[in-house]
């Protein structure tokens, strides 16, 4: 029973660390399926995280000053709106560079990542003077856990009660949003006219153009969706998972999401599974450190145990390299991705 409880906690942690990965990976899916390579997921997420924390802090300050503590939950939503707007702006910058000016999409992505890693800290120090952090949000000013009806009542029921009250209930609204985004993305990409055109514009833009549909228009729409989802991922990091923005708080999550997208072969459901796998590895590695009694073991075992968290940490990156090399399956990117579309004639 105790082991089952540990397992539930591990899955719970997996869900929580997977959320930004899922959102950013689905964001990348829209962009890359339209033919726009996006290695700027990291930067957009980071920018979004800062915008969310800064906006909801300022908003909650104002509300508190006006004596409207009851309205504090609105601050989190203001933060979310700020994160999404800022991230969409960045996505449009990437879009203009790659669609309008046929710029190198890798260069543009690198630029956005570097720009945001600098700008968030620069503005953070100038506005809040806490060394790049934003001030701690009051409890009401962030996204709070939503307790499902009856969760308390069934918490003591073995297995099913645990599952319901620990794993399903008690997350914030952005967690549910992230996991809803996957079936929604599936439906949009495979079951709507927009999705058909999206896939076509990433595989064969000439054909889309011939059909009288604007290639640029489709791609702009795709990068806007990408930006919005990255913004939600950023807001999750700074106003749901924690209660402030911290310097470089994305810490490579944008690239793990990119890896998951490649690992999921640019399809929504496999991408979700890859995100959960990488999130699970992350959760395991966090629990592995210092959890063994090493006194009684041989030096070799001790060395292996010491190395284990690092091996697990590097595993997502190594898996993606192996996948791309065709050693475990084959990942083929949308055919037109990364190539600017130049209308001939």
């Amino acid at each position: 029973m105790e082991q089952f409880g540990f397992f539930i906690l591990l899955l719970d942690a997996t869900l929580r660390v997977s959320v930004p990965l899922v959102l950013a990976a689905i964001a990348g899916l829209f962009s890359e399926r339209s033919g726009i390579v996006d290695i700027g997921l990291e930067g957009k997420m980071l920018g979004g995280a800062f915008a969310a924390a800064a906006a909801s802090y300022v908003c909650s300050e104002r509300l508190a000053a006006a004596g409207l503590e009851g309205l504090l939950p609105a601050a989190a939503w203001v933060g979310l709106a700020a994160a999404v707007s800022w991230s969409v702006l960045l996505a449009l910058l990437h879009g203009v560079a790659s669609i309008r000016y046929h710029g190198n999409q890798i260069v543009s992505g690198v630029a956005i990542n570097i720009l945001m890693s600098g700008l968030t800290v620069l503005l953070g120090i100038a506005w809040f003077s806490q060394g790049g952090r934003t001030p701690q949000l009051p409890p009401g000013g962030r996204f709070r856990p939503v307790v499902w009806p009856g969760a308390e009542a069934v918490a003591e029921v073995p297995i099913l009660g645990h599952l319901y009250s620990e794993l399903l209930s008690g997350h914030n609204v952005l967690v549910y949003l992230a996991f809803l985004a996957v079936p929604l993305a599936f439906w949009v990409v495979y079951r709507t006219r927009f999705g058909l055109r999206l896939r076509a514009v990433g595989e064969n833009p000439e054909a889309v153009d011939t059909a009288g549909i604007s290639v640029a228009g489709m791609r702009y729409r795709a990068v806007i969706v990408c930006g919005a989802l990255c913004g939600v991922a950023g807001a999750y990091l700074s106003t749901a998972q924690s209660a402030a923005f911290i310097k470089d708080m994305t810490a490579g999550k944008g690239f793990i999401a990119l890896a998951a997208l490649v690992f999921g072969k640019w399809r929504p459901v496999p991408t979700l599974l890859a995100c959960l796998l990488f999130g699970f590895l992350d959760a395991v590695a966090a629990r592995l450190q210092g959890s063994f009694d090493l006194e009684a073991t041989t030096p070799l075992v001790r060395a292996l145990v010491d190395a284990a968290p690092f091996v697990i940490e590097a595993l997502p990156y190594a898996l993606v390299v192996l996948l791309l090399a065709g050693f475990v399956g084959r990942a083929i990117a949308p055919k037109a991705s990364g190539i600017p579309y130049v209308k001939s004639g």
Partner: protein
């Protein structure tokens, strides 16, 4: 890659000089707006920055020390770019290259100084090259895209280094994850010492002999890319892999060759940081220099001369930015990172943003020139 050959039939001076300059001005203009938003005066910021970078002799030392890192990583990026490859892995290759340098200094320090220096250089180059070889091989033989694999290798490098420094190389009895200090003779001579030998007084700065090696590497890259058969093959593959195959040149072999040289050059950044400045192995000594190399190389049009100029510019930005952060309380060091991002955006991705504004003028110039030539012929 959008390099000089994608110039829309413009004269070379316009593509290699005018456009980068205009884009640089645009990047600085936006940076000025950022400074205004912070509530400081952009003009005063520029004055403080230039003074901080060049205003006193010590500043020169720091500026050139930063430039040393950028020369190495930019040369690394450029040689891969000439082969049509986007090597984003300079950061990881420099990190692992530094490990190679550090291992040589830690475990081969029975060697005398004049043997240890070349051994450390070879060690750094080999480790950096090996770290680039895997993505290169996978691109050449298995078609996996070098952009994604080198990004992944950056993260793997970071994990490897944390593991090694925390568990293996840490100085016994120490809490912080770093190796012991290198022996006295296992260090690159500092510029102030070398100048001292010549009887010239130079202030104490991190600038060291690696700077001279960086200049030499720039020369070597120039010779290799433009004056050897291998360089010709490499550029041919970069310009048109299909044509290269017809000419009997193997794209696969050249991809591996370009990436291995690229990794070796990136590893030299580790030489400057590990053997020249820190004189021990520690975490995160790469500090993003691998990524700055991309900006520097784009700015310098992937040419060694351009890279030297752009490295000086970025070295000045780094040093001047540090001084600026001292003088202006509302401006922090990260301003330099912002400027860097803007430079990459404008010079790299928005390369042709201002082209429409210049095209009529350039065409008019060309027409005037040909009309003048025709008139001269008639006379």
């Amino acid at each position: 890659m959008a390099t000089a050959d994608a110039g829309f039939g413009l004269p070379r001076w316009a593509v290699n000089g005018l456009l980068p300059l205009v884009n640089l001005v645009a990047a600085f203009a936006v940076s000025g707006i950022v400074i205004l938003i912070l509530g400081e005066s952009p003009v005063e910021a520029v004055v403080a920055l230039v003074r901080g970078a060049f205003g006193f002799r010590e500043a020169w030392g720091y500026t050139l020390y930063y430039a040393t890192n950028f020369i190495f990583t930019a040369l690394a990026f450029s040689i891969a770019a000439h082969c049509g490859l986007f090597n984003i892995g300079g950061e990881g290759q420099g990190y692992i290259g530094g490990l190679g340098v550090g291992l040589a200094c830690l475990y081969l320090d029975v060697l005398p100084f004049f043997l240890l220096v070349p051994v450390a250089i070879v060690g750094g180059a080999l480790f950096g090259a090996a770290w680039a070889w895997v993505p290169a091989y996978l691109q050449a033989r298995r078609g996996s895209h070098v952009v994604i694999t080198t990004i992944m290798f950056n993260f793997i490098a970071a994990t490897v280094m944390v593991y090694l420094l925390v568990n293996v190389l840490i100085e016994p009895g120490q809490m912080s994850p770093q190796s012991r200090d290198f022996a006295e003779h296992a260090r690159l001579p500092a510029m102030h010492d070398m100048m001292g030998w010549l009887g010239i007084d130079f202030p104490r700065t991190p600038l060291n002999a690696a700077f001279i090696w960086a200049l030499a590497c720039a020369g070597l890259v120039w010779v290799y890319v433009w004056h050897t058969r291998w360089g010709y093959e490499l550029r041919t593959v970069g310009a048109n892999p299909d044509a290269a195959v017809y000419a009997g040149i193997s794209p696969a072999r050249n991809i591996v060759r370009a990436m291995v040289i690229s990794g070796a050059l990136a590893g030299m950044m580790g030489l400057n940081e590990v053997m020249g400045v820190n004189q021990r192995l520690l975490l995160n000594f790469t500090a993003g220099y691998g990524f700055v190399g991309i900006a520097v190389s784009l700015m310098g049009r992937n040419h060694p001369v351009g890279i030297l100029v752009a490295s000086l510019l970025f070295g000045a930005l780094y040093q001047g930015g540090a001084e600026l952060a001292f003088e202006m309380p509302r401006v922090s060091r990260e301003l330099v990172v912002v400027i860097q991002g803007l430079v990459i955006m404008f010079v790299g991705a928005l390369e042709f943003l201002f082209l429409p504004a210049f095209r009529p003028w350039l065409q008019k110039r060309r027409q005037a020139a040909s009309a003048a030539a025709a008139a001269a012929e008639q006379e």
